[in-house]
């Protein structure tokens, strides 16, 4: 009845509006598909050599992040060991200093996440490598080698922070970290330390064979060999450590600087086996965090990171020790490290020749070749303005001197904590590091919440402090 009252044209008008609407709805998808500029697919984005270089550059860039080799690794390895004055520390740094990191620590979250960003970025290149059309097999090999080098490097270092060291258990079945060899959201549980080392070595051996002898600012085969030397040395496998360190020293083409500080400055070094590049373009600096740690706040005349008296005393014990100049210290003032304050822009020296000499020296000594050990050590000591060690020094004396000099020379270079643990495993089971047993639970960083949260089966480390 009501419809009857409705005139035809009224009905038409109403229907036409609805019709327009329906029309729009059927063809509406077009004006609904605003796609963000940065939305795409990997198939569209990673097709050429140029693309692959961009994606791989991003992996190197992740290595240089302030939470990775750009600062945090170096800082934490000193905080948890014996090189820092903890008086003014608070927050996360104090948690490291007091060997009591919980699951909510920003530094460990960032180390884990940013570190694995480098791995994921490398893995993303690896998964697309076969599909790239304009690359020769040699070039593909080179890219594969670089990606595997980056992947191995991060796995090795994160393992050293988040798990007890190699040799903590006899078969190294204790928990390590997740092994990530694909770019995915898959849940991956922690592997044993033995398995992570196996993966690291396999990636590095593969990289060593794939990479060219010289690869500009990117990782080359000597970078892989040098890292293998570090890995085997950490495992106390002195045969392999010696062999790799020796090969790097002999064949890499790098030469020993005259000035021990040259490698922390811009351009005057030939020691860098693998470094993270800094350019003066924008914020492309691989050492930004180092400058923050040691910047002096003029309103209070203090830097954020202060060095411990023990490291200061060790390096100023001999008044001729040029490495004593590495410290800012005025009477009554606080002590902090100056060696990273030479230039504002310089390449971050992640692996350098001095370290290879230390590895070769100590490995030679362990292998019974005291003479080589003393020769290598004296190169470093001479440069530091110190008297040479006599060739007749006892092996115990040589060992101690190598380790003492290493502590000073590689201060704040992501070495000390790992080195102390290696020594403890090797020959000092009762070692106490600044008041804490080397193998107490707090001596490893707790797995942070961002690694635990997404995976209900992920196991945290024991939490009982030290």
């Amino acid at each position: 009845m009501m419809i009857k009252q409705l005139h035809k044209y009224q009905l038409l008008a109403a229907l036409s509006i609805l019709f327009c609407g329906l029309c729009l709805s059927s063809c509406g998808e077009d004006f609904l598909s605003t796609v963000p500029d940065n939305a795409s697919t990997i198939e569209e984005q990673l097709n050429t050599k140029e693309d692959a270089r961009k994606f791989l550059n991003a992996a190197y860039d992740a290595l240089s992040f302030g939470n990775v080799y750009g600062g945090q690794f170096a800082l934490v390895s000193e905080l948890m060991a014996d090189g820092i004055d903890g008086q003014n520390l608070d927050g996360d740094w104090n948690a490291h200093y007091t060997r009591s990191t919980g699951i909510f620590v920003g530094t460990t979250r960032n180390m884990m996440h940013d570190g694995f960003k480098a791995v994921a970025r490398a893995n993303n290149v690896l998964r697309r490598l076969d599909a790239i059309s304009d690359m020769s097999e040699t070039e593909k090999s080179q890219f594969e080698g670089e990606a595997k080098f980056i992947r191995a490097m991060i796995h090795f270092d994160l393992l050293r922070f988040f798990a007890q060291p190699y040799g903590y258990s006899s078969d190294n079945s204790h928990l390590g970290i997740a092994i990530r060899t694909t770019f995915s959201t898959d849940l991956v549980n922690r592997s044993s330390v033995a398995d992570v080392y196996a993966q690291v070595i396999s990636d590095l051996e593969s990289a060593e064979s794939l990479l060219p002898a010289n690869n500009g600012n990117y990782a080359d085969q000597y970078a892989a060999k040098a890292l293998l030397a570090q890995v085997y040395f950490q495992m106390n496998d002195f045969g392999q450590a010696f062999a790799y360190a020796d090969e790097v020293i002999s064949n890499s083409g790098n030469t020993f600087d005259d000035d021990h500080r040259a490698k922390y400055g811009f351009g005057n070094t030939n020691e860098l086996i693998f470094s993270l590049v800094s350019t003066d373009i924008g914020q492309d600096n691989s050492n930004g965090e180092f400058r923050n740690y040691f910047r002096i706040d003029p309103s209070t005349n203090s830097a954020s990171v202060l060095s411990s008296e023990s490291i200061f005393n060790a390096s100023t014990l001999d008044p001729n020790d040029l490495r004593g100049l590495n410290w800012f210290n005025q009477p009554g003032e606080q002590i902090f490290c100056e060696k990273f304050r030479i230039d504002s822009i310089y390449a971050n020296p992640v692996i350098h020749l001095t370290e290879m000499y230390f590895i070769r020296a100590e490995s030679a000594l362990e292998n019974g070749d005291t003479e080589s050990a003393v020769n290598d050590l004296n190169m470093i000591r001479d440069r530091a303005g110190l008297t040479s060690l006599s060739a007749s020094a006892s092996s115990g004396q040589v060992l101690q001197t190598i380790r003492d000099d290493r502590r000073i020379e590689l201060y704040f270079e992501n070495d000390r904590l790992h080195e102390l643990k290696r020594i403890a495993v090797h020959d000092s089971p009762d070692m106490v590091i600044r008041g804490a047993d080397w193998d107490c639970p707090g001596m490893v960083c707790q797995i942070p919440d961002n690694e635990l949260t997404g995976n209900p089966d992920m196991e945290p480390n024991p939490e009982a402090g030290c």
């Binding site: 009501m2 409705l6 005139h7 509006i17 609805l18 327009c20 609407g21 329906l22 709805s25 998808e29 004006f31 609904l32 605003t34 940065n38 939305a39 795409s40 697919t41 550059n57 190197y60 860039d61 008086q87 608070d90 996360d92 948690a95 490291h96 007091t98 009591s100 919980g102 909510f104 884990m112 996440h113 694995f116 791995v119 994921a120 997740a178 770019f183 959201t185 991956v188 600012n217 373009i281 924008g282 914020q283 492309d284 706040d297 003029p298 309103s299 005349n301 203090s302 606080q334 961002n450 690694e451 635990l452 949260t453 997404g454 995976n455 209900p456 992920m458 945290p460 939490e463 402090g465």
Partner: protein, 1033 residues
Amino acid sequence: MKKALLLYLFFSFSCLFLSTDVYAQATIKGNVTDNNQQAVVGVNIVLESSGAGTVSDVNGNYELKNVPVGENVISFSFVGFKSETRIVQVEASSGVIQLDLLMEEDAEMMEEFVVVGYGTQRKRELVGNVEKLVSKDIREVNVGGGFEAALQGKAPGVQITSGSGAAGGHAVVRIRGTSSISAGGDPLYVIDGIPLSNDAFILGERGGLNNNPLSSINPDDIESIDVLKDAAAAAIYGSRGANGVIIITTKKGKTGKPSINFSTKYGISRPTRVLDVLNTDQWLQIQQEAWENSGNVGRFELPNGLSYEDIEGIDTDWIDKVIQTGFQQEQNLSFNGGNRFIKAYLGGTYSNSESFLRGNNFERYSGRVNLDITPIKRLQFSISSSVSRGLRDKSEQAWSGGLGWAQSTALPIYPVYKNDFNPAGSAYSEEQEYYNLYGNPIAQLELTDLKTREIRFLNNLRLSYRPVDRLTLAVQGNYDFSDIGDYRFEDEMWTTTTDISKAWLFNIRNFSSTGTAEWQAVANNKHKLTILAGTEYQNYDRETLYLEANFLDRHFYEYDEFRDFIDTLAYNGEESYQFFSLFGRLNYSLKDKYFAQVVFRRDASSKFGSNNRWGNFPSVGLGYIVSEEDFWFLPKVNYFKLKASFGITGNSNIPWTEQYATFDFNQNPGLFDSGLSYNGGDTEVQRKFSNPDLKWEVVRTIDVGADIGVWQDRLTASIAYYHKITSDALLQEFMSASSGLEELQLYRNVGRIRNQGIEFQISTKNISQLNFTWSTDFNISANRNMVLDVGNATPDALDGGFGDTRVLEGYPLGVNYIVPFSHVDPESGRPVYLDRDGNETFTYSPATMRQVTGDIHPDFIGSLTNNFRLKNFDLGFMFYYSIGGQIYDDAAKRHLGVVTPDWNMRPEMFDRWQQDGDVSEYPRLVNSMTEWGGSGNEWQNNHTLWLYDASFVRLRYVQLGYNIPFRNSKVFDNVRLYGRANNVLTFTRFPGWDPEIARDRVNDQERNVGGTSVTYLTPPQEKSFYVGANFRF
């Protein structure tokens, strides 16, 4: 109009003489129209002498038969219009008398109409749950603030947490609980048909503050606010209706004598409470004790190498230095007038409100033009246009500085300047240099400058045409434009390098258009049918530009030519999305007592994944006025209505890029360097994977309710129960850090959440005399929230930001997931915690001991309002209450926890353990939590010692007004004077600043999960006192 009536009467009268026919009775017929020349349907026309009556039909025509000879009084009444009576002299010869009538809308009665989205409905016909506020409830609530504040306590089920005391701060609005975890929980705001852009996080949490986009709307321009709470009401907004809809209608011009309104307000602002912190003596005492307890000897070593000689005589009250008495004012001028062709509302306002925080000020100019033009009958143009400019001077808050620093890192032993130190000490300097730059709030105030400038245009043009009486066709185009600039300038003394100017610029263009057709039919005066069909398209675009320069000595915004630098300095961003919708609504009423409504909306959006482009949102509702039945047996109950509805609404507050795999590109060299280039070359990174299944959240709501009126509405009450289930709830699922994905959190539709609750309100007119009235309004609502499913998410996967609130299956959305603190061990002074089995332990291990210890939701919220009127005086006051729930004071672990030399603490700290046998609130003072078995990171000291009862009752306002009686004044129609005090009294057990907390947040999930129940140095609400006057000429 009177002329016309006289003419009609004259005509009728002349008929008398001209007529030659003789009837014993006459028929009166005519047509009833409103100011817009539109027919008024359903007008009751009653012959007073006999009570006989009729109702106007859809064309506004009526016919009253059998009118007896003689003088007859005929009354016309219709809800929303002023009642009219006419005296008609009927002669035996009258025959048919024509009596047309123009009825005037009655603004007072407009309350009986509610705005329901794309139309209005009589409240009587409503099947959904809608609350209405009108102008007088809105315009006097604050000085220079936002309109949201007016809603607090006025609408049951609507939880408004006013913004902190920062000027123009954002309020948190939740309608019937929180039904989302990761997606936005704010309601949709629609102003004059424009779906507003409303992003509280557009400026992030920069400076410890969130933005309030709603502050650009002048409360004085608002005619009414309608809050659509349930699905029956909100389903017409489809995929954006799930959090409720707040519809704002601005004032429209009215016919009749033009009026000019001027209103003015002046007031002051203070904090509701000032927290006590330690002075120098107290601070040194606490530090010394902790120093010794931690095994040190001698005097506590002062921070920054200061000596005791240096700080002699220094006792800085930092809080006092950063708070002030804020001065506020607001001026409004408006014009209202019109005739049958054009009606206009013009309004202009200026307000300037300082908060009690030094350096914080909000200034707003706004103007509005609303025109309704009726060039020819049946056609109407409406233009509604407003522009506002808000300028906010900001001082950083909470973690970012200002009052936050004043109570934390600014120690009482620190002076503002180095030359305030004891001249005999070594820290003394002749120079007027700031001491401890990055913890010194005065240095921050004086060396940095933060401003936000927001210009907003809201425009719409509506054309409605009625080809015939029952059909209305309307098209409306809306343009909501915002130009927001957030500026920051840092002096070289602050940066210690160069001056730095930064600007974050936003350009938001939010365009929408709507076409509707509404058809009405009435048959036999029993059936009334209204059908609405429509379509809507919305396109939202936002451009973002970030600029930074170190060669300017001022703000970017003081440079007109700054865009010249864009090429080298800019960093670009964008946001863009579209919605396309079809909708329809069918309302049927039978005998004006049975009501049914069916709503259907179909939405497509570019935000949804390609596998889920379209969503359907239906609702159905029924209403029944039982008291209209013949069998109604309670004569004193004049009105009793039952309502029930079911519907599906959606929530599409999801970031626009979420369905896509996204990439970061860095062209180097090129635009502003994001720090992602390497080796001088470009980089590219895949941020995340795509999710083509991404879709809106689905909320199914059942609502039942009843409205009652007793003793001719001397008492009115309503009760409602609702049950809402959110399915496909969006969760930011957490990937493992070792996945190495740039974004560890990805949106997935996996959760399920239930909200159910009861709302009750009652209003009584206790005394209703000519010279004295007293009325009381009371409301209470209880929402119960439960997370039913979160997929595989572990407790830490869905967090509410700082303060350890989490989402766990089987618990309310947002629980305090922390270690329970038991007591202080009287023997050792160590804190004793409880493990998950309830055993007491000294161990503190969050990884294994955390459990649910409270939740963020109040059990009951509501208000009690009393209004008195004695002759021309009126007095009103409202108590607002929120009972139940917990507050986590995230700063208390520093204010009352481990003693470190970089924070100030609170005097409650003196209730600490000192010797064997002491029973104390706080443990033995120590310098590191490691001494208590915890972490060396004092920030991880989260446990229930800092968890407080969130209940509070607040005297929200007291207002006293006086309407000056102007009889026959040539100048004024009306003058009203009033004084008001807001937040006068607060009753709470919470010992911190303020139990009503709207802290800074970084995203929607933090707001949903952390709610308004975590505080971290958050400034308190303001207590304000002001006087105002309204003049009508």
